[in-house]
C-alpha cells in the first residue's frame, strides 16, 4: 500500500507543480483576441481582452505584419491549450487528493 500511496503523492506533487507552471506561463503570454475595426472607411487592428467586467481594446496599428498576426494567433492557441490543461489538472488534483484521503486497510 505504501508504494501506491507514494506514487499517488508524487503524482499529486507533480500535478500541482505543473499547474503552477501553466499559471505562470498564462501570466506571461499576452491574452486577448485580435479584432479589426472599421472606422470611417479605414481598418484598424485592436487587441481585445477582458479585465474584470470590462473589455479593453489596445490599439495595434493600421496594418499588421503577417508575422505579428501569426504570433498573436499562436499565443492565443497556447493560452487556450494552457487553460484546458489547467482544467484537466484541477480534476486530477481533486481525484488524487480524494484517493490519498482514503483509509488504508489494517
Amino acid at each position: 500500500m505504501g508504494i501506491i500511496k507514494d506514487l499517488l503523492k508524487e503524482e499529486l506533487e507533480n500535478s500541482i507543480r505543473i499547474k503552477n507552471d501553466y499559471k505562470e506561463a498564462l501570466k506571461k503570454s499576452p491574452g486577448g483576441s485580435l479584432i479589426r475595426k472599421k472606422i470611417r472607411g479605414h481598418k484598424y487592428y485592436y487587441l481585445a481582452y477582458r479585465e474584470g467586467k470590462k473589455v479593453k481594446f489596445v490599439y495595434k496599428g493600421k496594418k499588421l505584419s503577417k508575422d505579428c498576426i501569426e504570433e498573436l494567433k499562436k499565443s492565443r492557441h497556447l493560452r487556450l491549450k494552457y487553460k484546458d490543461l489547467i482544467h484537466r489538472l484541477d480534476k486530477r488534483i481533486k481525484y488524487l487528493r480524494k484517493a490519498l484521503r482514503g483509509k488504508e486497510d489494517a
Partner: protein, 227 residues
Amino acid sequence: MEKKTHSLCLEVLRRLDKAGILQDLIVIGSWSIYFYQYYFNSKGYSTFIRTTDIDFLVPIPPRFHKEVNVFELVKDLGFLETYKGSKGYIKLAHSDLTIEFLVPERGRGTNKPYLIPQLSINAPALRFLDFLIENTISINADGLRIKLPHPAAYALHKFIIFKRRTKQDKHDRDIEGALRVFHQLIRSHKEPETRIIFNKMHPKWQKTILSNLKSIDELEIIDILNK
C-alpha cells in the same frame, strides 16, 4: 498508462523524427519497457509502465545533422520549458508527459548541466549510461524507427543502479522493470545474447550486479549470468 500520454509521446517522437534528430537519440527509462513489445513480439509481455517521464539519451559528443530547438518543436502541444534544481537542468513539462535529456558522465564527472546547443537544451550527466549507448537496438513502432538500449543492457543497467537510488519508490520500480524485461529475455530464448552483453561489462560492474542480485535473492538470474 493513459491513452493521452501514449498518443502525446508518439506525437513527440513523430516530430523529433520529422526534424531529423530521432535517429541520434536513444529512448531510455520506463518507456523502453513499453517499446520492447516490438522487439519481443510476445503476447505474454506486459507493457504496463507507471511513469509519464520520457528520457532521451544523447551520445556525446552530440552528432546531430541538424540544429533543432526542441522546445519550439513541441511548444504548441502544451509543453513548458522548466528549470530543475539549482543547476537549471531543462525539462520540457506537460501535464501528461515530461521530456528530459541525459548524457553519460565521464571522468570525474561534474554537477553542471551538459550543454547541447544543437537542440537548445542542457542535460544532466549520469553514470553507467555509456553502457547503454554501446548496446542498442532499433525497433519499428507506429511507422517510427526508435533506438533503444538492448533489453539485456537495460536490465543489467537497472541491476547496477537500483542500489544507488535514494527513493524507495524508484528503487522498487527499477527492480520490477528490470526483472520483467529479464524474464522476457529468458522466455524469448535470448540467454546467449544476454550473457554476451554481461561478459562485455567491466569485471567490477559484473561483481556489483551479482552482489546486488544476491541482495534481492535473485539467485536464478545469477546462475543464468554465470553459466
